[in-house]
């Protein structure tokens, strides 16, 4: 049961995130009922008291805490202050659009990184690759996005300017989100390939009569994939943070837009649900990565 401690650790992180979310909801100044009703409310004190009772805000803090934890297990994050709808509905409605964007971006980033890592083997091409990588990693996403928009939407009219309808509207946002991640992945893969190629097994593989393509596909690329896998959680985090900016920039519906609106409006139940979900994604990714390591690297199967 090698995974048991990791599983316990993952649950502790989730419990911590839920507790943090609860504390923020309780400790941040501002009366939730006042935020819900808006500034120019005509509601009487009796009405406010009833809403308070409905939300369970009149109960002792401990009861509220355990109630909150219990409801999170059922994916019930309460009601949005602003939209007066269940938080899980608000998020669930926008999820597909963000999944399409981040999914397209990660596939694109992997393809770009693989092509660069495999083709840039010479002295000049390596130098070009490292300069390009530095450039895309150092350029903020909202700038590359604006440049792509200016060129391909406003000058050439190839793609729509904004919106979330159809494949054409997905192209520029996905490229914008993919570029910095492609730069990071390409650096990791190139470095991994270099160190794999320096190992003695390469000579023995070539001596067995395997061609360079087979060497790459069966051996060195697997070695190179290890360090990149370690960054899986970081990359997913970059996708989520980037989605906030990209969705705002391209006027795409999605979780990022929901997050930004919730942050701007102090809609704390939505914000905290998103924080908790981000933590959950992080935990799940790390569990998957831990399970993947032994598959990628047989040496880790017998270790420990």
């Amino acid at each position: 049961m090698r995974y048991l401690p990791r599983l316990v650790g993952a649950l502790v992180v989730l419990w911590g995130a839920a507790t943090l979310a609860f504390l923020v909801l309780k400790l941040v100044p501002g009366d939730p009922v006042a935020i819900m009703l808006g500034a120019q409310t005509q509601a009487s004190d009796a009405v406010k008291a009833r809403i308070r009772e409905d939300l369970g805000l009149d109960r002792p803090p401990f009861e509220q805490y355990f109630g909150y934890l219990g409801r999170i297990l059922l994916l019930d994050f309460g009601t949005s202050y602003r939209l007066q709808r269940p938080v899980s509905d608000v998020i669930g409605a926008q999820l597909p659009s963000t999944l399409a964007l981040t999914g397209a971006a990660i596939v694109l980033a992997l393809l770009i990184a693989l092509v660069i890592a495999i083709t840039a083997r010479g002295r000049v091409s390596r130098a070009v690759a490292s300069v390009l990588e530095l450039l895309v990693i150092s350029s903020p996403g909202f700038w590359t996005g604006l440049l792509l928009l200016t060129l391909f939407s406003f000058q050439l009219h190839w793609f729509p300017v904004s919106g979330g309808q159809g494949l054409a509207a997905l192209v520029l946002p996905a490229i914008t989100l993919a570029l910095p991640i492609a730069g990071l992945l390409s650096q990791l893969l190139r470095h991994g390939l270099d160190s794999a190629n320096a190992q003695p097994f390469v000579t023995s593989v070539l001596a067995r009569g395997l061609g360079p393509v087979q060497l790459l596909a069966r051996h060195t690329l697997r070695h190179a994939a290890l360090p990149a896998t370690t960054f899986a959680a970081y990359i997913v985090g970059a996708l989520l943070g980037g989605a906030v900016i990209v969705e705002q920039l391209f006027g795409r519906p999605g979780i990022g837009r929901v997050a930004l609106e919730a942050i701007t409006n102090r809609d704390l139940p939505v914000v905290m649900a998103l924080v908790f979900l981000a933590a959950a994604v992080f935990v799940v990714i790390n569990l998957i990565v831990d399970a993947l390591y032994p598959l990628l690297d047989p040496r880790l199967r017998s270790a420990r």
């Binding site: 650790g9 992180v13 923020v24 941040v28 490292s130 530095l134 450039l135 990693i137 150092s138 350029s139 903020p140 996403g141 909202f142 700038w143 604006l146 440049l147 928009l149 200016t150 939407s153 406003f154 000058q155 990071l184 650096q187 990791l188 190139r190 470095h191 270099d194 360090p227 370690t230 960054f231 959680a233 970081y234 985090g237 970059a238 989520l240 943070g241 980037g242 906030v244 900016i245 705002q248 920039l249 997050a259 930004l260 919730a262 942050i263 701007t264 102090r266 914000v271 998103l274 924080v275 981000a278 992080f282 790390n286």
Partner: protein, 280 residues
């Protein structure tokens, strides 16, 4: 960027010329931050409806925006905002990270373990995401933005200082200092700190760029300073309405951000190569 990212990076050999250019760019930016009047006589906030969206040319090297404001003047005056984001966040984060790292490295094992698990989680997340979560809790605004990017940067420094502390804690010269009866505080400051200052300086140089990207990203989202402040990220956000007619509005503020970030990265990696060379 996390320390792990730096460690696994392909070591790009930075030619001295690149390091000099990067240093020059940063010097220019610092000069622009302190003495914007040297670079442009124009007011970054002055609007002129007759000069709306003029393309780059004599008089307006970067063109003008929709309200007729000179973009070059706005980029120059924006330097002080972006640099103050970057430097404030980095300096405060380095100090906080050093204290946490030293304390964690010298504390009992279980305290160290708890702190390390927390830092590992934070290190595995991009700074922009952490900063967004903090802004979500604190609310928007320029001060909260700086607090958010500062907190997001702390884990990197705490980790490197803690690693350095563990390395030298057992070293003979530290034991000698203990045996000579030097006070704990003096040992930390005089024996342990100098040994971690090199890597710390490298990370801080690169960290200024990372903090500037995060800060301008939050500003772009409208979570920092408000219009008409000439903040680079905010300028790009404000310029979105002009893209169809004036490409220059979208180009120059972003170019300023990217040039700054590339310069800090190049300078940081060059410093890194120098420090490693000396140790080898």
């Amino acid at each position: 960027m996390t320390t792990q990212a730096l460690e696994t990076r392909t070591r790009l050999r930075i030619p001295p010329v690149a390091a000099i250019v990067a240093g020059a760019v940063l010097l220019l930016l610092v000069a622009a931050a302190f003495l914007p009047g040297w670079f442009t006589p124009l007011d970054p906030l002055a609007t002129d409806t007759k000069a709306s969206e003029l393309p780059p040319g004599p008089g307006h090297p970067f063109g003008t925006d929709r309200l007729g404001r000179d973009i070059y003047a706005r980029v120059v005056h924006g330097a002080s905002i972006s640099l103050s984001f970057g430097f404030t966040a980095t300096v405060v984060a380095v100090v906080t990270g050093t204290v946490i790292g030293l304390a964690s490295g010298l504390a009992p094992r279980w305290v160290d373990n708890v702190v390390q698990r927390l830092l590992e989680i934070l290190l595995a997340l991009p700074e922009l995401l952490i900063a967004l979560v903090i802004i979500a809790m604190l609310g928007a605004g320029t001060v909260n933005l700086v607090i958010a990017i500062t907190i997001a940067a702390v884990p990197v420094y705490a980790r490197i200082v803690r690693a350095g502390t563990l390395q030298v804690r057992q070293a003979a010269f530290v034991e000698a200092a203990v045996a000579l009866g030097q006070r704990r505080g003096a040992i930390v400051v005089r024996r342990i700190l100098p040994n971690v200052i090199g890597p710390l300086l490298v990370l801080a140089t690169i960290g200024v760029g990372t903090a500037i990207i995060a800060g301008s990203g939050l500003s772009f989202l409208g979570l920092g300073p408000a219009s008409p402040t000439p903040e680079w990220g905010l300028m790009l956000s404000d310029g979105r309405g002009s893209l169809a007619t004036a490409w220059w509005v979208a180009v120059f503020p972003g170019l300023a951000i990217t040039a700054t970030v590339i310069s800090t990265t190049v300078l940081g990696r060059w410093l890194q190569a120098r420090f490693e060379g000396r140790e080898a």
